[in-house]
């Protein structure tokens, strides 16, 4: 029930899909204003963890508290109220195919704010500028490259001026230059908007660049948490192997 300081508190989170145990007693605190990066191999449950934080999945056991409020106990209305404090950038950006960039970025504003059409257009333009994509309002998602999509997805995530931004593999699938552009954007969001961020990734370059703290997810649990420097000099064999990309004897994350 407590939130002593931490904005988001994850306690003993358990989640299985059928016989497959994905999270088994995961514990993690995220402080207000920090950027927490959760690292781990693919298929270890990083996306599943993010989806619990924003209430897209319900835990089998344990709880996520946001500002002391238990997420899984919220009804539809409570969840929608909570979700307006969040922005989420999906791995494939998840832009709505049926809408142009402007309608995508302005989606939540059109539906949930009292703003006029002109005010919305102005906010959308501002968000697109912030992600370095001004003037593309009338393009459709199918006309955008992967990196452009992610940036538009980020613009959509920040349109409601959230307090917390969740990033699902923000640099995966991008070339190193574009990945660096996105990393810089995440850092910039942090500095300009003073948000709390949680990013999940298996890209260590990105993790070191954006993180205040890094946590490693392995076999359903967080096995180590620390600053980038602490992680770099870890004494934990599993973490060391992961960050160095050494595959010898490495166990795939899912516990059997």
């Amino acid at each position: 029930m407590s939130s002593n300081g931490a904005l988001i508190r994850i306690e003993g989170l358990h989640k299985s899909f059928g016989p497959k145990k994905v999270l088994s007693g995961l514990e993690l605190d995220i402080e207000r204003g920090e950027t927490m990066v959760v690292i781990g191999g693919s298929g270890t449950g990083k996306s599943v963890l993010l989806k619990h934080i924003i209430g897209l999945l319900k835990p089998d056991g344990g709880e996520v508290y946001v500002d002391g409020e238990a997420v899984s106990a919220l009804d539809e209305k409570g969840l929608n109220r909570l979700r307006r404090r969040f922005g989420m950038l999906f791995q494939g950006a998840a832009l709505f195919d049926s809408m142009n960039v402007e309608e995508n970025v302005g989606f939540a504003l059109t539906r949930h704010s009292m703003m006029s059409t002109a005010e919305i257009a102005e906010r959308v333009a501002g968000c697109l500028e912030m992600v370095g994509m001004p003037g593309i309002q009338k393009l459709h998602p199918s006309e955008l490259s992967g990196g452009m999509r992610k940036r538009v997805g980020l613009a959509r995530a920040i349109a409601l001026q959230p307090e917390i931004i969740l990033y699902d593999e923000p640099t995966t699938g991008l070339d190193p230059i574009m990945a660096d552009v996105i990393n810089n954007l995440i850092v910039e969001m942090q500095e300009r908007l003073k948000v709390t961020s949680i990013a999940i990734t298996h890209d260590m370059v990105s993790a070191y660049k954006i993180a205040d703290r890094i946590a490693m997810l392995y076999q359903g649990k967080i096995i180590e948490t620390g600053t980038p420097d602490e992680i770099r000099n870890t004494s934990n064999r599993v973490v060391e192997q992961f960050i160095k990309g050494d595959s010898s004897g490495y166990q795939q994350g899912d516990s059997r």
């Binding site: 989806k51 924003i54 209430g55 897209l56 539809e76 929608n80 109220r81 979700r83 307006r84 969040f86 922005g87 989420m88 999906f90 791995q91 494939g92 998840a94 832009l95 709505f96 195919d97 049926s98 989606f107 939540a108 539906r111 949930h112 959509r156």
Partner: protein, 273 residues
């Protein structure tokens, strides 16, 4: 699992899991689970219809998609059904000199049965599959999750407009199909087979009651609602990438068509009583 077919056939575990009874039982269980989930989706959409905001633009777009875009295929289907039906009935009645009944029988069959059912089946093939494909694609590319995170209920945003469009447009299409089907029957009987036009029109007009037509339209409304729900349900439950979208799309057509035919029996029974 390594090993040839002979190895498998001597494994009691394999026999237990793959005999026809177990498979049928499992299928049956899967279908009843789906049925339960569909009923839940109906409940959710019924609640969501009355929640603001009313997405009028979305509803109009779906009406265009379900209704307007189905006009050609529905009219052609119904024209030819009326024509074939007249051809067969005229031939049949001719055997005992009752050709004058053709107009009545064609009219009754079209308005009560053929127009609502065939229209619904055509719309199931066109629109329910499109719904499953569109929503299914949104599901596997996390656009449904994105809707949730943008504090928008997918049932309200996606399902309600499609179900309403089915509920309203399928009866309208059916009314058009009634008209065109009867015209088709008239053309074949009068122009091709040489029936007396006055007798034919009279047989159609005086023996077909309003209730025959209205009953058919009520059925059409129920079918339209059902195929909308099934198309959306298959879309929302899509798993497994592009392949999954393909499966949902064909599944939507099959299940929607079955629902239409099964519901048809019960509705006809109720309406006749």
């Amino acid at each position: 699992m390594p090993g040839g077919i002979m190895d498998k056939l001597s494994d009691p575990q394999f026999i237990l899991e793959h005999n026809i009874l177990t498979v049928l039982l499992r299928r049956g269980l899967a279908y009843s689970t789906q049925l339960g989930e569909i009923v839940m989706l109906i409940r959710k959409s019924a609640v969501a219809i009355f929640r603001r905001p009313l997405d009028l633009a979305l509803i109009v777009r779906q009406m265009e998609e379900v209704g307007y875009n189905s006009i050609p295929v529905v009219l052609i289907t119904s024209l030819f059904t009326g024509m074939v039906f007249a051809l067969n009935s005229y031939e049949g009645f001719h055997r005992f000199g009752a050709e004058s009944l053709t107009g009545t029988v064609v009219g009754l069959a079209i308005t009560r049965e053929l127009a609502p059912v065939l229209t619904s089946l055509m719309v199931a093939g066109r629109a329910a599959s499109a719904m499953a494909a569109e929503i299914g694609t949104m599901k596997v590319t996390e656009q449904i999750d994105a809707l949730h995170t943008l504090a928008t209920d997918p049932v309200k945003y996606l399902v309600v407009p499609r179900v309403l469009a089915g509920l309203v447009m399928v009866p309208i299409l059916t009314a058009a199909a009634d008209f065109v089907g009867i015209i088709g029957g008239y053309l074949v009987s009068v122009k091709l087979l040489g029936a007396n036009p006055y007798v034919y029109v009279n047989a159609t007009k005086s023996f077909i009651e309003n209730w025959d037509i209205i009953g058919g339209l009520i059925k059409a409304a129920v079918f339209g609602f059902l195929l909308g729900i099934v198309g959306c349900y298959k879309g929302l439950t899509t798993e497994g990438g592009a392949e999954g979208v393909g499966k949902s799309t064909t599944g939507a057509v099959v299940i929607a068509s079955m629902c239409v035919l099964i519901a048809d029996f019960f509705l006809t029974k109720i309406l006749l009583d």
